[in-house]
């Protein structure tokens, strides 16, 4: 992807993350209401396709947004060349995808 495409992807994913973070925070508050044991939480998340989709999209957005942002930080704060920076960004992306998706699957 060229810089223009990366820039656009980062801003679109930011625009998606903003409301999703709010929904996520609201959900945390609501979730506490009905008790906080793992069993109680899982009983509400299991087989709920809507929430699985919501968090799936959340994870993908974050996994696109953060690595693109980290490229600029690495460029400014290290002496790494673009190849190394892009490689590290891919690692961050993969890590976020794996960790995030396994969490989504675990509660589904």
């Amino acid at each position: 992807m060229n810089e223009q495409a990366l820039f656009v992807v980062q801003r679109i994913s930011a625009a998606m993350l903003a409301p999703m973070v709010l929904v996520h925070l609201a959900l945390i508050l609501i979730a506490v209401e009905g008790g906080l044991s793992a069993e109680e939480i899982l009983s509400r998340t299991r087989d709920n396709v809507g929430w699985a989709l919501f968090y799936g999209v959340f994870v993908v957005s974050a996994a696109a947004h953060a690595p693109i942002g980290i490229r600029n930080i690495l460029r400014e704060w290290t002496r790494l060349g673009w190849k190394a920076i892009d490689g590290l960004a891919m690692v961050v992306c993969a890590t976020l995808l794996v960790l995030g998706m396994s969490a989504v699957i675990a509660v589904f």
Partner: protein
């Protein structure tokens, strides 16, 4: 007996490595920072190197760092920047130091080339002058960004340039914005692609130091924001033959 008021002026001597020299210069009612530097060179230190030409804010050659901030010294009154009778004067930040107050502008000038900020016309001397509608949106946008004197103040003020010397920086990208709004320019797509390549527009954090310090009150930050919007719309040159 009351002594005449004087300024304590610390001036950078040397290149990348060097030392601070201190001078006492008479304080006057109407005095620019460039006047102070000139007085030091004439009365105290004939070997002091510094740059200026027009002395009226047109040529852009007199920019220095004054009390930590980039200024065009010929139009900066001492009373506006002095702290407790002290002035500290050094070369512009973000550029290699050559001698005393003179820095090497080459990396700054290079950014124009790298950003594709070079006008390329589509007609020659035999063609009639191209008509440009002064009321068109693009012309107004170009006009608002046009009066750059290439002083390097914004380049020196930009923290992203400080962190990443490959970043094209505010002045060149501001110039790109004027070209992309100029219908007489023939290389819109090429210019845009260069300006939006690595270490280009997308490196800018929009924090606006460039606009805050630009002595002619341009806003490179707004110009770069305009370029970023163009990326969003999937920039395609507006002209049919490109």
């Amino acid at each position: 007996m009351e002594t005449a008021k004087s300024l304590r002026v610390r001036v950078w001597r040397g290149g990348e490595s060097g030392y601070w020299a201190e001078y006492a210069v008479a304080a006057r009612d109407n005095q620019t920072v460039l006047d102070v530097v000139t007085e030091i060179q004439r009365r105290h230190e004939p070997s002091l190197a510094y740059r200026f030409a027009c002395r009226v804010g047109v040529c852009g050659s007199c920019a220095m760092t004054v009390n930590g901030q980039p200024r065009w010294t010929c139009r900066t009154h001492v009373r506006k920047v002095v702290h407790d009778g002290q002035l500290t004067i050094e070369p512009l930040r973000n550029l290699p130091r050559i001698k005393d107050l003179v820095c090497d502008l080459e990396p700054f000038i290079d950014t124009w080339q790298r950003a594709g900020a070079i006008f390329q016309g589509r007609s020659d001397r035999n063609d009639p002058p191209q008509k440009v509608d002064p009321e068109s949106i693009s012309r107004k946008q170009a006009d608002a960004a046009l009066q750059c004197i290439n002083c390097g103040v914004c380049y020196s003020a930009c923290d992203v340039v400080y962190w990443n010397r490959r970043y094209l920086g505010p002045a060149a990208l501001n110039r790109v914005w004027t070209l992309l709004n100029d219908e007489r320019h023939s290389e819109h797509q090429g210019t845009f692609n260069k300006a939006f390549s690595r270490d280009g527009c997308s490196s800018c954090h929009s924090h606006g130091n460039c606009a805050r310090f630009c002595p002619v009150e341009l806003s490179p930050a707004s110009s770069i924001a305009g370029l970023k919007k163009m990326a969003f719309r999937g920039y395609k040159a507006r002209l049919a033959h490109e």
